[in-house]
């Protein structure tokens, strides 16, 4: 009987093809969170005092805070003492220098299996990768080649050691630790993530990408990414994520900070495919993330493009603060929820500079018994003469047991601003599916066609190879949602 159930579950869950685990010796610190744990993490990473101070301040502040409850989410109670805050799968393999010449072959295999080869000769064309598993960056490719142009691309742990002045200047400057509950938590215990610095006038010649993988059981991942794009520079950055299938929820509380200076441009793309839990709603990653970009310079540009198909719960609002006059920000999002997944996601556009412009294109797709909410804020400060925003939020429903919700907030303090909002809700009809069936296209493929057509505007914003992946992912995520 037990075996039979196991088989049924395997079949039911095989659609999440990244659910395997890697058997590798992992150093995991004991569960629980206290000042001592914060100190231990800092010590393990060999950090300078100023960073330990930053962590401790954040931790003390976090202790005074309550988790947010305003999201359209049924959040499970998270026992923060029942999580391990540091897991190192490279323990024993990496030398003290942190160089990655000798990577455990199991780790190499894991990333190969995920389609992220860590050997440069096998790399996806024109993409440099920082591979992060649990709390540690395993390897960053093409560092030398990028260094020739003065570009820094490494894990944030290494950046703390090798470029402390840069990290110290910008860390917490876009998302202060007081920002919110999860930001404070992350600031206290963050482990690894990527650091990118593009010097003045440099166009980064390749896509930079970070691949996040949660592997160890009972651990949280607290990724911290910092991107600084100096005057007249350009970078396109990609982020991908997966996790094994586990019955318990896994916590992922990340911070991404982006600084964009004068005439600089950053494109940030995410394909988020964390384990969404099984079809009964058991397990899955809790993805509680603060992402924000600060468009500091005149005529700076930032675009967030996200395809969100994973996680049991997504709580995420990649935002832009448009300080520089003439700066432009874009947010393109496709969020898919199926089974019991819940998403409360959107963006904030804070217009401060003159002649600033922002665009929001959000496409929600809900299936199964899932709940999918768009939450967005467009704020125009007194100073933001001629600010312009265009928002378009569309929801697509598959079936009748799911929910789509839109919470657009506007806060406009300047009469010259023009803020537009459009919203639509549509449903894939039986007639559309039958029309496809009659032409020989089965229902799952028909849903995939329709959903990809619906999301095209966003998918087209992704770099080529990511776009192909994202298209497949949309189809797979909705398998079994109709009929």
């Amino acid at each position: 009987m037990k075996e039979k159930n196991g088989f049924v579950r395997e079949v039911a869950e095989k659609k999440y093809q990244y659910g395997f685990t890697t058997d590798v010796h992992t150093e995991v610190i004991e569960k629980g969170l206290s000042e001592d744990v914060v100190r231990l993490i800092s010590q393990k990473k060999g950090e300078p005092d100023w960073l330990l101070e930053f962590r401790l301040k954040a931790f003390r502040y976090w202790q005074t805070m309550e988790p947010p409850t305003w999201g359209h989410l049924k959040m499970p109670d998270i026992d923060y003492q029942d999580i391990s805050y540091y897991a190192n799968p490279t323990a024993g393999k990496l030398g003290k220098s942190g160089t990655s010449d000798e990577i455990d072959p199991e780790l190499m295999k894991t990333f190969d299996k995920l389609g992220i080869p860590l050997e440069e000769r096998l790399a996806l064309s024109g993409t440099a990768v920082d591979a992060v598993m649990d709390s540690v960056s395993v390897k960053t490719t093409f560092r030398e080649k990028l260094k020739e142009k003065g570009i820094i691309f490494c894990s944030i742990s290494e950046a703390v050691k090798e470029h402390p002045e840069l990290v110290r200047e910008y860390l917490g400057s876009v998302v202060p630790y007081r920002d919110n509950f999860f930001a404070a938590l992350n600031s206290a215990v963050f482990s690894d993530g990527s650091f990118v610095y593009i010097p003045k006038g440099v166009r980064c010649p390749m896509e930079l990408s970070t691949y996040f993988r949660i592997n160890a059981r009972g651990t949280g991942q607290f990724e911290r990414t910092l991107i600084v794009c100096d005057d007249d520079a350009y970078v396109s950055y990609l982020e991908g994520c997966t996790a094994p299938m586990r019955d318990e929820n896994q916590l992922h509380a990340a911070i991404v900070e982006i600084v964009v200076k004068e005439n600089a441009e950053v494109k940030y793309s995410t394909v988020q495919n964390w384990y969404p839990g099984d079809s009964e709603g058991k397990g899955g990653v809790l993805n509680l993330v603060t992402k924000r970009g600060h468009l500091r310079g005149r005529n700076s540009r930032l675009s967030w493009t996200q395809v969100e198909t994973g996680s049991a719960i997504t709580w995420k609002y990649p935002s832009c603060v448009l300080s520089g006059d003439g700066s432009q920000a874009e947010f393109y999002s496709v969020a898919v929820t199926n089974n019991y997944q819940q998403a409360d996601t959107g963006t904030k556009m804070i217009h401060i500079g003159k002649n600033t412009k922002s665009t929001i294109i959000s496409k929600g797709i809900s299936a199964g018994k899932s709940q999918n909410a768009y939450r967005g804020l467009v704020k125009v400060a007194k100073t933001a003469d001629n600010a312009r925003n265009y928002s378009s939020c569309d929801s697509l429903l598959l079936g009748s047991k799911c929910g789509a919700h839109t919470f657009p907030y506007m806060d406009v303090h300047n009469d010259t601003a023009v803020v537009e909002h459009e919203a639509t809700t549509s449903k894939i009809s039986e007639d559309q599916l039958f029309y496809c069936n009659q032409r020989g296209i089965n229902t799952e493929e028909a849903v995939s066609l329709i959903v990809n057509g619906y999301a095209k505007e966003v998918i087209n914003k992704l770099p080529m190879e990511f776009a192909v992946e994202a298209q497949k992912l949309l189809g797979v995520s909705l398998e079994g949602s109709v009929g």
Partner: protein, 250 residues
């Protein structure tokens, strides 16, 4: 090709088809005429497997196979095609992607490799000419913003692409002006071979003038009450259906 025996079907619990018997041989075109509500569209929907209809009795044998046991897409792969009376719009899905998915699904069923993008587009260009379908339309979303006539031409274009052996034209002539009707009908005729058959549902003689059906059936009250040669359509055009009702005692 197609044999229907004592077919009963209902929708929402209401019986619409009350014992249909019909045999269509290779190369034949049959026309079905009848008043609104007689069950003509129900018959076509049941043949292609629309999930809203429930078959309560009878059988449909297609080239020796039990059609009623197949999913709608399997029926399509076996060569059954329906030109819809009201083709649905599918926003966001381009005609090119849609046709490519349909054609490759069929090729997979036949054990063939998917067609390369180049060959596929070439095929689209060729087949488009059959119904004089503007290239502007094939780059749009499926049926979105198409006029009534364009939608019908698009149906015959899809038929040309998929090369079914048995096609059902469900009031393909409705809403067409004289020129569009000629284009659609001539397009259909170009696709006819001694191995393909069709069932044409219509109210009007003018489509049949082009298609020259072999057999005419009159469907009333969910049953085929009269079957005759092409001259029957002309008689209906002149005299309506009342005399047939009287003849069969309805």
């Amino acid at each position: 090709m197609l044999q229907i025996n004592n077919l009963h079907a209902r929708i929402n619990g209401k019986e619409i088809l009350k014992g249909i018997n019909l045999t269509v041989r290779d190369g034949e075109v049959h026309a079905i005429m009848g008043l609104n509500g007689a069950g003509k569209s129900t018959l076509s929907n049941v043949i292609v497997g629309h999930p809203a209809y429930e078959v309560t009795q009878g059988e449909v044998i297609f080239n020796g196979k039990d059609l009623l046991k197949m999913t709608p897409e399997e029926r399509a792969h076996e060569g059954v095609f329906l030109s819809f009376q009201q083709p649905v719009e599918i926003p966001g899905v381009s005609m090119v992607n849609f046709m490519r998915a349909a054609l490759n699904a069929k090729r997979q069923f036949q054990g063939l490799e998917p067609l390369s993008a180049g060959d596929f587009l070439k095929l689209m260009r060729e087949k488009r000419k059959i119904v004089e379908l503007d290239s502007r339309l094939t780059s749009r979303s499926v049926n979105e913003g198409f006029s009534g006539g364009e939608k019908k031409r698009n149906e015959i274009f899809q038929m040309a692409m998929l090369e079914p052996t048995f096609s059902i034209l469900d009031e393909t002539d409705s809403g067409l002006d004289v020129d569009a009707l000629r284009i659609v009908a001539e397009g259909f005729n170009k696709l006819r071979t001694p191995q393909t058959s069709a069932l044409v549902i219509t109210h009007y003689q003018r489509l049949l003038d082009y298609l020259k059906p072999d057999v005419i059936h009159v469907l009333i009250g969910g049953m085929i009450v009269k079957t005759a040669g092409p001259e029957l359509a002309l008689e209906i055009e002149n005299r309506g259906f009342d005399w047939i009702k009287e003849e069969v005692g309805l």
